[in-house]
């Protein structure tokens, strides 16, 4: 039920972007004979002309991210009914990013492992999409975290309780998104890393693993903003996992 709703919101977002851009092509039409709405720089290199690996090692300003993320939180905070609602909104903001990041992640991991680039991608072996839960979680814990934050996550655990074999935990001792965020005292349960939880959820969904991910505060003396991402796989995923285990698929 959640998936179509989410795609609908993404669609409306992209539509909004185009319509708002098409308001003002009149002023620029003499300068650049381009399709309305898409403004092309003078050297005709749009963001789509760039190689995807160009920004691979590029660094972003942490301050500008902090301000942008702060605005996202402020935006999500409008018209919310409570902490859970706010976390849900942040989660929904991260979800589409996760879906897209997955493709980028695969693209980059294959283009580095084999020297053959996208031209021969059809002939070379398809990217090793994770089929098992552990492989997927290792992908998130390692490569995804490195892509987003420049380092691997700090821990990956499986729930010890026999009642919840579908629960896994990814721990980040000092989540980058929360560096400058201090929630007010009456919202101490809030964790803005719900945005990152949404990204994880998007990555898992993109891989075909139905999941719910939530972020929880678990501060320690040394790491006051330590966050645990609780990954809960759906029942169909667990069923498939059993079948795959019997079949010996890795």
């Amino acid at each position: 039920m959640a998936a179509p709703h989410r795609h609908a919101t993404m669609q409306s977002m992209s539509n909004g972007g185009i319509s708002s851009g098409s308001d003002r092509p009149q002023q620029h039409s003499q300068l650049s004979q381009q399709s309305p709405g898409l403004r092309v720089p003078s050297n005709r290199k749009t963001i789509y002309d760039r190689h995807l690996n160009r920004t691979r090692t590029a660094e972003l300003s942490r301050a500008s991210f902090a301000f942008l993320f702060g605005e996202m939180v402020t935006y999500a905070q409008r018209r919310v009914t409570g902490i859970q609602d706010l976390e849900k909104r942040l989660n929904e903001q991260g979800y589409p990013l996760g879906l897209r990041l997955l493709d980028l992640l695969f693209y980059r991991s294959t283009s580095t492992s084999s020297s053959a680039l996208s031209s021969s991608s059809t002939s070379s072996s398809p990217p090793n999409r994770p089929l098992r839960i552990i492989t997927l979680l290792h992908l998130i814990h390692g490569p995804l975290w490195r892509l987003l934050f420049g380092r691997a996550a700090d821990a990956l655990e499986h729930s010890v309780s026999p009642d919840t074999p579908n629960e896994y935990m990814i721990t980040d001792n000092d989540p980058m998104v929360n560096t400058y965020v201090s929630a007010p005292r009456d919202m101490s349960m809030l964790n803005c890393a719900a945005y990152v939880a949404g990204i994880i959820e998007g990555v898992c969904d993109g891989c075909g693993f139905e999941t719910k991910v939530s972020a929880h505060n678990q501060p320690t003396e040394l790491w006051p903003s330590r966050t645990v991402f609780l990954v809960r796989f759906g029942d169909p995923v667990m069923e498939r996992e059993k079948v795959l285990e019997r079949a010996g698929v890795k």
């Binding site: 902090a66 005292r185 903003s225």
Partner: protein, 169 residues
């Protein structure tokens, strides 16, 4: 907490309207004023600061001469120094010193004032204030839950400020 080797007593932050938005002691056992008194102190200082700025002597050559600092001996106003460049804006009270303590005021471009109470012998006060300003810019201004001009209640700011001042020796 052991006595701070840097001799930093306390910090007050005043918003651009003269309201107290942050107040914190860095040494235990300091005699505390009541909250109301701190508010009055902040408001008064804000007013005095504005006065010191407006009494800066203006001479027709647009080259401010050294002022006579006729007001209070304890507060040598920054306006007393001559500015080689007339384009430099007039600053108000920069510091206030007595035998027992020194109050340094740092005003940001947006009008927020940082008041630092230190021991008169403490050196490098400018560097300390600069670092506090940096922490403020990071952990207060980048916090999405902070409402501008309102009292600062940011746990991360408190934590980093305390840790940094304790770590400096």
């Amino acid at each position: 907490m052991p006595s701070n080797p840097r001799g930093v007593f306390s910090l007050i932050i005043i918003n651009k309207a003269g309201g107290l938005i942050y107040q914190r002691e860095f040494q235990s056992g300091l005699r505390n004023l009541s909250t109301n008194d701190y508010l009055v102190l902040a408001g008064t200082f804000h007013g005095v600061h504005a006065i010191t700025r407006s009494i800066t002597p203006k001479i027709p050559i647009a080259q401010p001469a050294p002022s006579t600092t006729s007001t209070g001996t304890a507060a040598p106003a920054a306006s007393g120094y001559s500015y080689p460049n007339p384009g430099v804006p007039v600053s108000g009270l920069d510091y206030l010193e007595t035998d027992k303590f020194r109050l340094t005021c740092f005003q940001t471009l947006t009008g927020t004032k940082f008041l630092l109470f230190t021991d008169p012998l403490t050196g490098g006060v400018d560097a300390i204030i600069q670092r506090i300003y940096e922490l403020y810019a990071d952990y207060v201004m980048k916090n999405p839950f902070y409402q501008i001009e309102m009292p600062v209640r940011c746990e991360a700011f408190d934590r980093h400020l305390g840790a940094w001042l304790r770590g400096r020796t």
